[in-house]
Amino acid sequence: MFELLGIPPQALFGQVLLGLINGSFYAVLSLGLAVIFGLLNIINFAHGALYMMGAFVAWMLLTYLGIPFWAALVVSPMIVGGIGMVIERTMLRPLHDLDHLYSLLLTFGLTLVITGLFQNFYGVSGKPYPIPAVLTGVVNLGFMFLPIYRAFIIVMAVIVCFATWFLIEKTRLGSYLRAATENPEMVSAFGINVPLLVTLTYGFGVALAAFAGVLAAPVYSVNPVMGNDIIIVVFAVIVIGGMGSIMGAIIGGFGLGVVEGLTKVFYPEASTTIIFIIMALVLLLKPSGIFGREV
């Protein structure tokens, strides 16, 4: 087989694949942030904590109630999404007419509370979550061995991203959402309940974070700080993709995951900072992000 710049293809493909897996999480998380940002104009700082909560709820469902992975994949996002809707109704709504930075600060406070609560009850060490039996094992791709569960993550992320894109771009509910993003007053003058739409949107964005959390549970250890660092990377992803842009979140998420993987091959020292460097470059060249509307 060929070699590229002295790098064996196994390593190269392996890192690209790992990058795609990380990118799957980036994409689903930034998609949720983008949906929320689009309508509410706020950055949900608690997104990482809610991702962690999604993983923990899956773990709790399994440990206390014996509810398996497949059910948790649906139930956990519903529970966390419901909590999100309560948060929106009780805390974010009163701040709606104020500077949006207050909402950012509020969700930051929420992050501390949620993280603190789980640390208090479960400590900082991780909880193991088994890979569901059907998804264990590896396939031989010729150039590398691919764990089936990792492939499953990518497939699920692609499906969820596509479904979300479809929901927003091609359905009636999605047209309400896009219209309300543009001109909420006009939408309410048509008899549409915009506050309800806002609550549902926040709940949906949060549910996406929880879904990513459930997917992450079997590969990363479930622990209270698992969302802490990934979320900042995801913030950078949405700045690069263009805040509030659905396509920017999806393409940016997967793309930057791969870029990160490739950096691990060619210049490992920069692999954790490459996304932030790209962010700085994008900001200098196109401040509204690659897919963003002009600000």
């Binding site: 047209s175 896009r178 219209a179 543009e182 309410s188 003058a189």
Partner: protein, 249 residues
Amino acid sequence: MTHTIEHTGPGAPAAQSDTMLEVSGLNGWYGESHVLHDINLRVGSGEVVTLLGRNGAGKTTTLKAIMGLLKTRSGSIRFQGHEVIDTPARSIAKMGVGYVPDDRGIFGSLSVLENLLLPPKVAEGGFDLPDIYELFPNLQERLDSYGNKLSGGEQQMLSIARILRTGARFVLMDEPTEGLAPVIIHQIGHTVRRLKKAGFTILLVEQNFHFARELADRHYIVQEGRIIDEFRNDEVTENLDKIQGYLGI
């Protein structure tokens, strides 16, 4: 909560006794500034009534207040006998009030078809798509275009068309002729006349007096947030100087 509208049926004459909208003692504020002062007006079922006045007189604000879009308002707005002064816009819309705003309110990121289908039906008897395409043939050709790619005239037609679909029988129309070419104004005038014939009730804000004169049953003159005068359309000729004085034309 949906209110079905007892409409008078197509072609019903404007019965003075049958009140669609009654506004009394309406006051409105933008933040700290008091912009509407004791507005009183009445629109009978099937009537076309205009609010005439100069720029910044408070016409648009009056419409917004009726639609429930002005945050601070007081007084009384009765729609078909129901008090709606504290009712949110979305509930007023569901009672059968359609709103065609001065900026036309077209969503640039939605296609023409999506814009058209966006407002939910609030009552039976709305136009269906073939009716709308017959009324506005240009729109049918541009269904897939995005709202922000339309010309001003097309936007205006779309803004009216999407309200007709909903079954609303009372339409608040804010300066539908503003900035449009005479041929388009003519087409819009034709549309309004057809709606009137079909029994729609219309409260029209206009600066274009000639346009208003050809369509309306009655006119209110708005100045500095107050209604200062009122004319039936058949009184217009004898009061022409007075009206032109009010409007500064």
